[in-house]
Amino acid sequence: MIEPRWGIGRWIELGGIAPQPRWSARMVVAAGFLVLMIGVLTLKLAQLQVYDSSNLAALARANTVHRAVIEADRGIIYDRHGVALVQNTPVWNLQVEPADLPVDARLRTTELATLAGLVGQPEDRLEASLAVADPFTPTRTGSDLTESQVLAVNERLPDLPGASIAHHAVRTYIDPLTFGHVVGYVGPLDEADLERLSPLGYQPDEVVGKVGVEAGLESVLRGADGWADVVVDARGQIVRTIAMQPPVAGHDVYLTIDASLQKATLGALAAGLSRDGKTAGASVVIDPQSGEVLALVSLPGYNTNLFTHGISQAAYNGLLANPDRPLLNRAIAGQYAPGSTFKMVTAIAGLQEGKITPQTMLGCPAYLNYGGWVYHNWATYNLGYMNVAKALAVSCDTFFYQVAAMVGDVTLARYARAFGFGSAKDLEMPGVQAGLVPDRIWKQLTCGVPDLNSDSCRWTVGDTITFGIGQSALLTTPLNQAVYVAALANGGLVLEPTLVHLVRDASGRETATQQRRVLGTVPASADNLQAVREGMREEINRPYNMNYWFRAAGVPADGGGKTGTAQWGGSGLNTPTHAWFVFFAPFAQPDIAMSVFVEGGELSEVEAAPIGVDIMQFNLNNHAAIRAVTPVPPA
């Protein structure tokens, strides 16, 4: 019917006899072309899906699977009864991953303008901060968002590729002016921190304890961050989580501090300071049986929240420039001469070395002459002969000049060190200072003159006798003073002071409880110790003097105390002084030992002692509550 014409082959007539397909040469060529094309595609596919597969699969994973860090909660710091001293406040920030922003320049500008408007930040600042950021990691931008801003951003997020909301916790300190010097604060890692802590897995955007217990117990408080591998779509939205490691919250720390006693101590100190027009001071209250620090106060305080919620440069400069140095924790790092509060050490040394006995009577003249120099008593008249207890009670300088001269500087230094002078206590916070116990070797090493036999390097008898009344180059801290008076209170045990009562993990299980650690025993017989304690009791019971404060406060003068007005920086009648009061109570079974320090105080009996009495009064009135057992937190 149809004759084969050109090209496509001969056609079978309808009704013909050969049903076999007739492949023309051109059709065979076309089939060959088809086979060739499929072969080429196959080769390329094999290259992609076999040879390059692992590389490309890794790229696909990098596209779609992102690791998100889940911040671990930092442990909470409580007082010994579970009163929270800090809380973790949630904070939201806008974060932007530059690589996920729209590629189109106009869309990108529009989105950045939208974001800038939502978080209330100038657009050029947002752009500048993103320009320097790593394009493939989400970068926090702008300040903390308010709740309404978070809602507004959240609502728009589907239209804002590359933007997300980061949530993290910020430390908010409770009553920072009261607890700030104890709790401290956290801050971003600086270069030194990073070098020190990066082996522990710290990330550059983490915070670390800088000061106080936050720093001292960093390893306990810090949890372990978790992570989640999340699948994100092309617009950066999380689709699902494929694997995760939950974060482990940091452990909660129960301090030995009693919040109420801390407040009372702060109140007493602040009131005492303002009474006398002073601005700086410190007080440490410890349990003389366990070494637990019940209160640790340094004035002035400062708002530690400024450091976690963003402090302006001006405010920081103001803190640095403040002449009262609020950033200095005087309780642990303020080093001052102890003055007359040191006389118990001189007394013990004299008694224990056999130079005097509790009954030995020595004179208390208005002055003594040593090596051509005249050394005065505080009184301008002769107080007559007295034993060591009476000498402590009236704080006779000339009595202790004689004892110190008999004992000698090296032995006196040994006794001072035995009471914990000159050693930095292992309190759970950084910056604890040691103070200084001088002797003739120290003087030669530090006089700064090449000729060690020159006058300025030679230890004189004058050095020895002023050492005996807590002057010379002797330095101590309020913390060391508290440890020292606790040793007198508890019968001679020098205890390691501690701030940690117990530690609980997130489930409430106790992971650590504080055990009493004894640093050493004072080399003093019970009789000698008792003689000194009697002197301390006598001092606070002097009528028309110290006894007045106890009667005014309505508490029995049952305990032992010693005041001290320490000279510093100069000599003569108008040298500046600090006022000290060290105290323990009750006398028989002491459960409280304290040091009170008034910077620039001139009359310790009037300025420092009433503060200690106020603290004692609070302790007495709230005795049961302060010593109540730490409650178990509700599960």
Binding site: I2, R5, I12, P19, M37, I38, L45, S53, N63, D233
Partner: protein
């Protein structure tokens, strides 16, 4: 004994087409496209297939001039009242359904060219130039929509059908020479984004987040598939939207990510078998017109498969071409199925020898019947 229509049909071709359609629906579903809508298109396409099979293709021969006029009319209508999307004016709205006349015009062109070439007595220069003149306005209208992909298919159909119709090698050589002359001018003829695609193809890494993104993400998806694939619905790149145009132009990358090299080769094998069956239909066609229709459909589908897979794996520059029977899209699905139905119509009207079942005695009789 007269063979029944059932015996005349090519059974393998619709089976392969059906399998490809199922794979296409699975891939479209996994690419989060509107698979129900695609299913509707497939059903419509099946109806078109049946209708085209039933319709005697020989009647198209006389309708060819009118078809040609209708085709130009449709393309002009797009030009005048069409919708614009993605920077191109390609769609007509017919009763609320978007219609893409350029898809339909590919098939109409096959029929028109088959009719034109089948009437030529010899591969004359006049016939050759006539074929070029027929295609030129169509190609120009489609290229300026702009739709580079369909233009490539149209030109390939022209060249392929000329080749199959027995055009002289000199004529084809002249065409190739023209192409060589036009090639340097191409960058000036192309739209900005088309030129950019070409540059990216030549240097894919030049702008990984910009214009090279599509190509790179598609290749990543294909490579991530590996040997055995991530498994259906377990692809990441495709499902999460990293692969652009994941249900249409880059559907192959989405498929390859989920089904791996094995699946991809199976898909190519199915396309290869289908195309061979189309060539075989050309070889058994009862007349030159039918043979050229089958040949034209072969060239049309081959071009689309090669260009689409090639651009997905970075072997060819990106041009918007869908993968027949796999990609999401109504006009393309219906057109492709209708084209296959037209080839089936050719098969239905071919001569056939019927071989009766051998009897137990082994007495075999052969009878040829119309």
């Amino acid at each position: 004994m007269r063979p029944t229509p059932w015996q005349r049909l090519d059974h393998l071709q619709p089976m392969l087409a059906g399998m490809l359609v199922v794979l296409g629906l699975m891939t479209v579903y996994s690419a989060h496209a509107d698979w129900v809508r695609q299913l509707v298109w497939v059903v419509l396409g099946a109806a078109a297939y049946a209708a085209a099979t039933a319709f005697d293709y020989r009647r198209f021969s006389s309708m060819a001039p009118w078809l040609y006029v209708a085709m130009l009319g449709l393309l002009l209508a797009v030009r005048l009242i069409g919708h614009t999307a993605l920077g191109a004016q390609r769609w007509l709205s017919i009763g609320g359904f978007p219609l893409q006349p350029s898809e339909l015009s590919k098939l109409m062109l096959v029929v028109v060219l088959a009719a034109f070439l089948s009437r030529l007595a010899s591969p004359s220069w006049r016939g050759f130039v006539g074929a070029l003149a027929l295609v030129a306005p169509v190609a120009a209208l489609i290229l300026t929509q702009p739709d580079l992909g369909t233009t490539i298919v149209v030109v390939a159909v022209l060249v392929g059908m000329l080749f199959l119709a027995g055009a002289r090698m000199v004529q084809l050589g002249a065409l190739a020479a023209c192409a060589v002359v036009v090639a340097p001018l191409l960058p000036h003829l192309l739209h900005g984004y088309q030129r950019r695609r070409l540059e990216i193809f030549l240097n894919p890494g030049s702008d990984p987040l910009g214009a090279g993104y599509n190509l790179l993400q598609a290749r990543i998806a294909v490579g991530a598939g590996g040997l055995f694939g991530q498994g259906w619905l377990h692809g990441l790149q495709g499902a999460l939207g990293f692969v652009p145009e994941r249900a249409t132009d880059f559907v192959f990358a989405v498929f390859a990510e989920q089904f791996g090299l094995l699946g991809s080769l199976l898909l190519l094998a199915m396309f290869g078998t289908l195309l061979i069956r189309l060539l075989r239909s050309a070889a058994v066609a009862p007349d030159r017109f039918g043979a050229l229709i089958a040949g034209g459909v072969f060239v049309m589908i081959l071009t689309q498969v090669v260009e689409n897979v090639g651009m997905n794996i970075g072997l060819l520059p990106i041009a918007g071409i869908s993968l027949p029977l796999i990609s999401y899209g109504g006009s393309a699905t219906v057109t492709t199925l209708a084209a296959l139905g037209m080839v089936q119509s050719v098969m239905l009207r071919r001569p056939l020898l019927v071989q009766p079942r051998p009897l137990l005695s082994g007495n075999i009789t052969l009878r040829a019947q119309a």
